[in-house]
Symmetry: C2
Subunit: 640 residues, 2 copies
């Protein structure tokens, strides 16, 4: 894609961005402050800038007077750069302070986005075979199942094949509907000894299929569900969808879900809820891809151990009682109908195996996708989801632990926290002089709340400009109406009600800050403890791979500033996004990778941090921004 | 068992019988006529005989006057021989004619009873393993399923093991109920390539099982259901039960059942009915054996192809339409709960594979049991059930056909026909002078009808004494009130209403006779046609094995006389009884024999007799007693 250069004045900052980037996004990335109170939705009219040179394309002009328009003014959030441009930010704004160059530079540093290095060879779990055997005749009147088996063997070299009652009940009908032209669906199994394949007939359908064979990859998160519809023969993702896990109404985190599950009918209700959410995802994916539900031949799901238990209806009680024992990690494929999924009845659902009560199939799936199981490089893999799981090691050794970080970085447990969905405040820049925020929401929707990466950004900046102290408390003497007394102590108003998509001010309270402090302390002490077990410090790491359902990026400098990520060279950080979903997709495309995931799960050694006396000491020491031991974060300069 | 000798006067016939045999049964076997109108139930008082010498034990004496008792008179049907005895049959009876010696001798000839020559090595389909792994601890907190797998592998060398969701849902509960003492049920599967075993966990149960592991062997007949509860480790049969197939109310024969199945909800209703019958058998077996239902670990069923389809709910339409194609022969194990069986939910049901639309799993099971698949001897195997299936061959070749004989020999389609159950007239001897019958019922119950062996006996005797001609019509000039004009032509009264267990006369009509004639003609032309395909005649046979749910025996001379069995040396005949049930029992004990049955089914070549032009000619020629070609039955002498 063509790139264009944007030169911001008076800051004199230049940035290269893709052709067509909105000026507001370019400014945010460059660390150049522009007033933007409505999240970029075009509603507040505050983000006016003047185009000094170059070509732009304005999407909406109503908020700019004709005279101003004539003078080159545009809304930064509604204007795309379509050539190299020079932009002037009005000096009219009181006390606007230019952010120092080096700092702005650092603020642009995000972890390099990383795709999975694993290249699947398309090898579906269920194959589809079009058949047209000769019709029965006097001297060839074998049973329908034998006719099918014979054709598979002779014409396709597919044997041996086992068939269950459900599909055999359908066979006489489907075979004759289109005069012995039909499609057989065969699940590929592997002989334990020889690894030769054998097959299980799971579906027969009249005629030639007019659509590709698809699989559904699902990430069952505590907070969110993510699904992808994948073409099993090409690996192409045809549609994606996500939504909150409907279980949220039964508890924010895994512990409260387990508590709910142990109530009368609780497990059943939780199971029904998550299946409802997945069914909605299926429906959305089918609508988007314009494919019929029949196209789905199997599903692979990855989730943490609690989510996997609740999805399958496995008894979760012993997950949270010492010594934290899961009911099962290795579940044979489950028919979709048994789970209540709206998929073709014999569609089999496989889940990723877990490692321990709090290191589940989502982490195994993530490790499968991030490739650390096959690489030499010493890797730290951090999934900043609801639990905060970490894996350290390489192809020779994989150690894992869970930090009980809680859902703060997924927006859980915060007054206005939300997941990275349209309307979530994701990008934020605070004017160091006026303490006014410049906010950018996902999909330019009026702000509804703040998501994980937004939270990291705002805390880091508040810390740097001194309106937040290192204990996570607001400076009560800050001269801004944005910091005020709220219902539970001081709070900072990120977005006023009138500029938001809500009827109330969006705030960040000190209770929220405390939650985040605990979450980041849990993560930090978790991975330092785990590395300690291997005899390493963070400096020995070749790379840190960050996973999580954040927004589009996590700002490294901000994440280091709050003490969430270790203070090591920034080029070592990679961001893989939702690696659990990526691993599920890989398994959908290549059944050998699903097999591999079982080996990975087996190879991973779990460390129970709660049993480790040093963990709690580490945790207490990390309840400070960035840390009580300042020497651990040499690059963090908190200028006042 | 001790045997005693019984000497009948004035006939001067001697017979050896087991100690304690009833005098009436001895007379019947000896071909000595005693008046016995009530079937041996002690009700008619007509069977009085005088004990001349020796010791007897009288079970009931009311019907004999004190004076007569003092003179040595007893009821033959209520008196056991407990030493060698001499018995005098009163001459008072009008016109009693002594049956010629050689004929009486021949009448005693039954096929030698045959047990299955196959000796199973106990090798159950599902094994039960008692386990007591260490309880979870801090440094041993693997999941419950992994703890189970590990124990199975390390302590029992059982691996690999797959486990489905159902059983894994139970595992946490059952494992902890008795403090990690529990029993695992593992279905043994075999690798297709190496034949090494692998296992499927099907049940877990707290504690040590306090009862043996049992399997249920079931024969699903068109007319009757038979079940046996078998100890899978010893092969011992702990209980047996049988009853009519409740589907009978939806049609006597397989064709009418198929017709019913194609009506709305018909298939579902038929399936429900047969399952109801099997559930009753299960209950009866459990009551008899005083075992809990939990003892049942699996079930093996054998039935003809139509019965198997209706039991499983497979669509039967194409079974009866040219070219007669079954839906499926090879069905993977079906969970009992899917079929509605009242067995533990994950109890798997296996059915015997069939060969063709009218040669089903019952015949394959019968062949497995009779051993002809492993023997050199050229064998004809005849199952005189509802369909009349035949198999000819030996270990090198197995050919099979079905004769559509209909249910006449199971009592179906006859006015007073019934299966071999209590109250069925089984033994019958007709006084050649008076044409009065001496009847013996099963279990000495008042007569309710006549069963297959009774029918063969009565027709043969009526033919010999000339009250029935070779076209199967009664001699209208016979001087006996027993032959009379009935609702549908002439009929013979076998038992008067007052002596029966019914409120009406039990008769055999000419319509009944026609049914039987057609049934025996179908059988005869069937096996001669089939042998012809192999290039053999009946004389080349080394043995004829007769199966069928007859009474305790089939009288060879009578069966040859009516032209049902071939007229070959009588020592070549063997009677195996319900070989379908026997085969199912063998499979229950030794899973390798179930595997063998699949090979047998595969090796059997089916001949569609209806497609064979010579079959119909043969059939027409056989519609005569014994046959239009008298030279085919040289030993049959019809004295008038
Ligand atoms: S109008 Fe552009 S940010 Fe509000
Ligand atoms: S009383 Fe003995 S047969 Fe009737």
């Amino acid at each position: 894609m063509n790139r264009v250069s944007i030169h911001f004045l008076p800051d004199d900052v230049k940035i290269e961005v893709p052709y067509g980037t909105l000026l507001l996004d370019a400014a945010l990335e460059a660390g150049v402050f522009i007033r933007a109170a409505c999240g970029g939705s075009g509603a507040c009219g505050q983000c006016k800038v003047r185009v000094v040179k170059g070509s732009v394309e304005a999407l909406m002009e109503e908020k700019v007077h004709a005279a101003a328009r004539a003078a080159g003014y545009v809304l930064a959030c509604q204007t795309r750069a379509i050539s190299d441009v020079t932009i002037e930010i009005p000096l009219a704004k009181v006390g606007r302070k230019v952010i120092p160059r080096d700092e702005a530079e650092r603020m642009r540093l995000t972890a390099r986005p990383m795709e999975s290095p694993i290249v699947p060879e398309p090898d579906p779990m269920t194959i589809r075979v079009f058949m047209h055997p000769p019709a029965p005749a006097t001297h060839d009147n074998v049973s329908d199942d034998e006719r099918l088996m014979r054709t598979l063997k002779v014409e396709h070299e597919i044997y041996p094949v086992a068939a269950g009652l459900d599909v055999l009940k359908q066979l006489p009908h489907e075979a004759r509907k289109e005069d012995w032209e039909f499609t057989a669906y065969l699940e590929v199994e592997t002989c334990h000894d020889t690894h030769n394949p054998w097959y299980r007939l799971t579906r027969v359908q009249a005629g030639h299929p007019s659509y590709p064979s698809m699989a559904l990859a699902v990430d069952i998160g505590t907070t969110s569900l993510w699904g992808e519809l994948v073409n099993v023969d090409t690996g192409e993702v045809k549609a994606r969808a996500s939504r909150y896990n409907p279980q949220i109404s039964m508890g924010d985190d895994v512990i409260s879900r387990i508590v709910y599950a142990l109530k009368k009918d609780g497990l059943e209700r939780l199971q029904t809820q998550v299946v409802k959410g997945i069914n909605e995802i299926v429906e959305e994916c089918l609508q988007k891809s314009k494919l019929p539900v029949d196209c789905i031949t199997y599903m692979v799901a990855a989730g943490n151990t609690v989510m996997t238990h609740l999805f399958l209806g496995l008894y979760p009680k012993y997950l949270r009682e010492w010594p934290y024992v899961p009911a099962a990690h290795n579940v044979a494929p489950v028919p979709a109908s048994v789970l209540g999924l709206n998929l073709p009845p014999q569609t089999h659902v496989r889940v990723f195996p877990g490692v321990a009560s709090y290191v589940g199939g989502d982490i195994v799936s993530g490790v499968l996708a991030n490739g650390m199981w096959q690489d030499e490089e010493m890797t730290l893999f951090i999934d900043i989801g609801t639990n905060g799981e970490i894996v350290a090691g390489n192809k020779d050794l994989l150690m894992t632990a869970s930090c009980s970080a809680g859902p703060a970085f997924e927006g859980g447990g915060l007054e206005f926290g939300m997941r990275a969905a349209p309307g979530a405040i994701e990008g934020i820049l605070i004017d160091p002089e006026t303490f006014e925020p410049m906010i950018r929401t996902i999909d330019s929707k009026p702000a509804l709340g703040i998501c994980g990466s937004g939270i990291i950004n705002i805390i880091s900046q508040m810390l740097k400009i001194g309106i937040l102290n290192q204990n996570g408390k607001y400076a009560s003497d800050a001269k801004t109406p944005r910091i005020r007394e709220g219902r539970s102590g001081l709070e900072y108003v990120i977005c006023w009600a009138k500029e938001s998509g809500l009827n109330q001010d969006i705030v960040l309270t000190e209770v929220d800050l405390d939650n985040i402090l605990r979450a980041k302390a849990a993560m930090f002490s978790g991975y330092t403890c785990l590395l300690d077990k291997i005899g390493l410090t963070v400096d020995a790491l070749d790379r840190v791979i960050i996973a999580g359902a954040f927004g589009s990026f996590i700002n490294l400098d901000h994440a280091v500033t709050i003490g969430l990520l270790p203070d090591i060279p920034r080029e070592k950080f990679l961001f893989i996004g939702n690696s659990s979903l990526k691993g599920a997709r890989l398994a959908c495309i290549d059944r050998k990778l699903y097999q591999k995931s079982r080996e990975i799960a087996h190879a991973m050694t779990n460390v129970e941090l709660s049993e480790d006396p040093t963990y709690m000491d580490n945790f207490m020491a990390a309840l400070f921004l960035p840390h009580t031991k300042v020497e651990l974060f040499p690059s963090v300069q908190l200028g006042q």
